[in-house]
């Protein structure tokens, strides 16, 4: 599969737009009443990030946050992505789920968690600890695209964004590099006739689109509730294989494209003021340029 670096325009796809006030059906969509067994190979990206409950502290050199000794876990949106892939396998739509992580040695723990949730095997693209911070969505997208080619995957499911950098770019870039359709911010995925019908959560409401396979999907919060790994699955996960490789083995150059200049805490919230009546409130708001 040839990789095209330039971004193509979105492919036309049948759309049903559901706004806040109601549904406008523009096209009718035929869907098969029967479940079709498919054998998709699904690649899922899982990222090891600082645990969401940890209090983040800025590093003394102000170029990043403290990560040493800090609790890390799987990016919550990636947990949702794995859960969705495993559900597709249980519905016999997917035949294999491969969990992929680009990160330091400890990323293997994250892959093991994915295996314990039901992924079949893992791929660990080892990034030296010092370079992990500088890894960008474009690098990961290139790695994913190369792995898609190698593994002959039919579907890529990623979390919509990582909670450490909030980039929200990897899924989109991966789709562009592969010249595949993308269905981002998915809150529901259904299979119809060799295509996917995906409900997307957008600012205006819910948008339902149909995408042809192969495709890239990014998981949003309400797509599903990830399962707990069970103890027997944790024990089984030990036996599942994790292939190890480096970015260079895939021909991907991970030199950074941008440089972080400064990292600082958000400004401390200032105290508010009380006003006596509505007129004063309006005046103050006008003075502050708010209205």
């Amino acid at each position: 599969m040839k990789l095209k670096p330039e971004v193509r325009q979105d492919r036309p796809s049948t759309r049903r737009v559901q706004g806040i006030r109601g549904r406008v059906q523009l096209f009718s969509i035929k869907s098969s009443p029967f479940t079709i067994t498919m054998s998709l190979r699904v690649l899922v990206g899982v990222k090891r990030v600082i645990d969401y409950a940890v209090k983040i502290r800025v590093r003394p050199d102000k170029l990043g946050v403290v990560t040493d000794g800090v609790k890390h876990s799987m990016n919550p949106f990636d947990e949702i992505a794995i859960e969705e892939a495993v559900r597709l396998k249980e519905k016999k739509i997917a035949k294999e789920v491969v969990a992929i992580s680009c990160g330091p040695t400890q990323a293997q723990e994250t892959i093991r968690t994915a295996l314990a949730m039901g992924a079949d095997r893992g791929i660990h693209v080892e990034i030296p600890a010092k370079e992990v911070e500088k890894l960008e969505p474009l690098h990961v997208a290139k790695i994913m695209a190369k792995l898609v080619e190698q593994e002959k995957a039919d579907l890529v499911v990623l979390g919509k964004q990582a909670i450490d950098d909030d980039s929200n770019a990897t899924a989109q870039m991966t789709a562009a590099l592969l010249d595949w359709p993308q269905a981002t911010f998915a809150s529901k995925i259904e299979k119809t006739d060799g295509e996917l019908q995906v409900t997307r959560e957008v600012d205006g409401g819910l948008e339902i689109i149909k995408v042809k396979l192969p495709a890239v999907v990014s998981a949003d919060l309400r797509l599903n509730e990830p399962r707990y790994a069970t103890l027997p699955n944790i024990m089984k996960a030990k036996k599942k294989k994790i292939a190890k490789m480096k970015a260079a083995d895939l021909g991907v150059d991970t030199s950074p494209h941008f440089e972080v200049l400064d990292v600082a805490d958000p400004p401390v919230r200032e105290a508010g003021i009380k006003v006596e009546d509505v007129d004063t409130l309006v005046t103050k708001l006008k003075d502050a340029g708010r209205i």
Binding site: Y228, A229, P232, I234
Partner: protein
């Protein structure tokens, strides 16, 4: 290599009969083996972070149990305590993950993990609700007793249901007249054809009245421990009734009732193990139960010290956070040390039990009395560090305190633990 050499050099000093230090590892390993030190667990470090010193798989298990505890149990622990609710659904959800029969063998549906795995699971779950976790550990103990001593038809019938917590189990040893003097129990089980007729009563039974399966130690033979058998009685059997639900200081998420037998007829095939083996079964079950209870205390202490640390960093008096006062720092230092020492004792005892070490009974007893006492003190100190707020039910520390107080009393009082350790030291130790 240098690390191993200095370790083995230290060990070699203790070995009798070694005159020459050798740089080759092999003889050191043999000597280590003689001292029972080739277990890989020796080379792990235990610390304040409960995940340290565990294998990769155990870290994943600990993480799973913690996630479950924080999401499913912690938000509810105060309500379960206040309303005295037995959280059947939450426990079944835990069982679905494999927490119902953790160290029973996989053959009939147990999870087949080790005692150490069980210890870290209970330690993690205790943060969510110590009382519920303690009941789960009792249920696990009963499942193991059936798994280890039962015959195949008993195991086939009960282990799957207990592992999934479709049915809940209770352990019935204590009576109104026999607590520490357990061997003097007086509930009788007289033969009548192919049945046993049970008469007597059991006191302080955790889960009593709400659980489905009762493992009852009763007297089938003469006086003393050798006349005791372990009999399985199902709820609903005619002649089985329950006393009133006791009102307790803590452990309120599990009901405690007297279990009363009045001409209760049970088939003799419900005897677990052989006749006269009951006391042995009860004590073997309790060895593990003691580690589990100690693990619950440890988990509660860990949660309390974490809460205290968070609190003292935030609370200010005299224009300074409490964490800047040396008294606070010294208290936290002592608490942290007690918790790490407790963790070492519990995990060591769990490993001893797993390996069937000759000192198992003494080590489990040491772990039980030391950990339950010291961790209670840690939780008490944590409450003190919270000041007045620690006394309010809005904060969880008081519940950890009330729940862990009884750990010094049940599954063998700490006084009985001292008896067992002294017996071991005075007789077989050397």
């Amino acid at each position: 290599m240098p690390v191993m050499l200095s370790f083995s050099r230290g060990v070699l000093k203790c070995c009798n009969g070694i005159s020459k230090f050798t740089s080759r590892l092999e003889p050191c390993v043999t000597k280590l083996g003689m001292m029972g030190l080739t277990s890989p667990h020796r080379h792990y470090v235990t610390s304040l972070n409960p995940s340290h010193g565990l294998t990769e798989e155990q870290v994943a298990i600990y993480q799973l149990a913690t996630d479950f505890a924080v999401k499913e149990m912690l938000p509810n622990m105060a309500i379960w305590d206040e309303k005295e609710l037995f959280p059947v659904d939450t426990m079944r959800a835990a069982a679905a993950l494999g927490f119902g029969a953790i160290y029973a063998s996989e053959e009939y549906g147990g999870t087949g993990l080790s005692r150490l795995d069980a210890s870290i699971i209970f330690e993690a779950l205790s943060k969510g609700c110590t009382s519920t976790t303690a009941y789960i550990s009792i249920h696990n103990m009963c499942a193991w007793m059936i798994d280890h001593f039962g015959n195949s038809s008993q195991k086939e019938q009960w282990i799957p249901q207990l592992a999934a917590m479709e049915k809940f189990a209770s352990y019935c040893l204590t009576e109104p007249g026999s607590g520490s003097d357990a061997a003097s129990l007086s509930t009788t089980a007289k033969r009548d054809g192919s049945d046993l007729i049970l008469n007597g009563s059991k006191a302080f039974i955790s889960g009593g009245g709400d659980t489905d399966v009762y493992l009852v130690m009763c007297r089938t033979g003469g006086q003393g421990p050798k006349g005791i058998s372990c009999v399985l009685v199902e709820k609903g059997t005619p002649g089985l009734s329950f006393g009133k639900k006791e009102k307790k200081v803590g452990w309120n998420s599990q009901p405690t009732r007297m279990v009363i037998f009045e001409d209760c007829r049970v088939p003799a095939s419900n005897i677990i193990g052989s006749e006269g083996q009951g006391f042995n079964i009860a004590m073997k079950g309790l060895n593990g139960g003691r580690i589990n209870i100690a693990s619950c205390s440890l988990g509660a202490a860990q949660a309390s010290i974490e809460a205290a640390v968070d609190y003292v960093k935030v609370r200010k008096q005299f224009s300074k956070p409490l964490s800047s006062f040396q008294n606070t720092q010294f208290r936290l230092a002592e608490m942290g040390t007690e918790v790490v020492a407790s963790r070492l004792l519990v995990r060591n005892a769990a490993q001893a039990l797993q390996d069937d070490h000759p000192d198992t009974v003494a080590l489990c007893s040491m772990a039980k009395y030391f950990v339950t006492e010291r961790c209670f003190q840690v939780i008490n100190e944590a409450l003190q560090l919270h000041g007045g707020y620690g006394y309010l039910k809005d904060y969880p520390v008081q519940q950890y305190l009330r729940d862990s107080r009884v750990h010094m009393i049940l599954e063998g009082t700490n006084e009985v633990m001292r008896l067992l350790i002294a017996r071991h030291i005075l007789s077989e130790w050397k």
